[in-house]
């Protein structure tokens, strides 16, 4: 399959993924980037939650199918309770 050109632009991808997970999965904005927390990367954990909700393969990585769903226009209500 053709690779979506945007996927190759890491910076844009990461920004899309972060804002999507902040909007709809309560990903906390990382106010202390210089601190490394232990345990799973919170972004990967939220990504898995989102992939499971949409019936995607749960990889914890922003693969093409996941990016495709994130780009779809949608309702502004979070997929999880606040």
């Amino acid at each position: 399959f053709p690779v979506a050109p945007e996927a190759e632009d890491e910076g844009k991808t990461l920004q899309l993924v972060e804002s999507y997970l902040q909007n709809f999965y309560g990903l906390q904005r990382d106010h202390h980037p210089h601190l490394r927390s232990h345990g799973e990367n919170p972004l990967a954990a939220k990504l898995k939650e989102m992939q499971s909700f949409f019936g995607l393969q749960v990889t914890g990585k922003p693969d093409l199918d996941t990016l495709e769903i994130m780009k779809k226009p949608r309702c502004g209500v979070p997929d999880v309770g606040q």
Binding site: F53, G55, K72, P73, R74, G76
Partner: protein, 367 residues
Amino acid sequence: YMFTPGNPKWKRNNLTYRILNYTPKMRQADVEEAIQKALSVWSNVTPLTFQKVEDKEADIMISFAYRDHRDNSPFDGPNGQLAHAFQPGEGIGGDVHIDEEEAWSKGGNGYNLFIVVAHELGHSLGLSHSDDPGALMYPAYSYTDPNEFLLPQDDIDGIQAIYGKSNTAVQPTGPVTPEACDPNLTFDSITTLRGEIIFFKGRYMLRKHPARTETELNFISLFWPRLPSGIQAAYENVERDEILFFKEDKYWVVSGYDIVPGYPKPIYRLGFPKTVKRINAAYSDENTGKTYFFVADRYWRYDERKKSMDHGYPRKIVSHFGKIGRVDAAFQKDGYVYLFHGRTQFQFDPHAKRIVAQMKSTSWFNC
């Protein structure tokens, strides 16, 4: 379906709504019609009623808004977030906010206002997002022709779990999203498409690529927005790289993602008599250039090169294909013809002129 956390619901069934402002992109009457239709989606399946009010506070206040509109949830301009709504409750509870910077329409271009408002009203009534890809409450926008819209069963189950069943004598039901490994899954039609196999069911298509194990479920409208749902027959003319779709007495020719201008056309142009009202199934043999059309218990044979029906048809299906009953869907792959009847699939060898195997209809989905 999922309830909004805390299970908020309205304590009354007779609710009020008010339209605070309108978008300049649609006629005011079309906005009102879209909203009324969106409300009836939910009142048709519950005891709920919605009365329009002017100049006073309503339970559900509907408005078009720009970017930051003072509710801690700013809109983001064109695309992205289309609208949002608040769970049942006083004040802002139940209100629907629509992003004015979207291209609202009453048809298939831009974003259809009816579909989006119907979804938001689900939130206004206490439903959260569903993970059923066919549900109205699924968070990603997908277009369906409002005239063909039927509230899916998942949404009916959800809203009735909150407000109870409808007061009508006959309870309304809705379409169920097909699941590839459902043993009871049958198909409206099937066609090959550039090496893939596309199975049609209602407004959905299940897409099977030979190199991928999983099956992809999409709306037909994702590829072909102007095609109807419920495609009754389809076949690929490999030579011309075209797909022909049939529903009732009309057929469409598609090349790639585009419908060839001038279609749909009556099926009678192909040589069917007026007594034929619909086509049940079709497949095309790319080696012989002959296309087989199945109608009730008979079949016709069409010569793609001569562009005319062969003489001596229709003939009885049983006379050529054996005792397989009526054919719901058919396609040819790797020299064999696969004929579907309900939950059964027959593999027919056109050279040996006999059925060589019988499988379940879902055998292609690696269940």
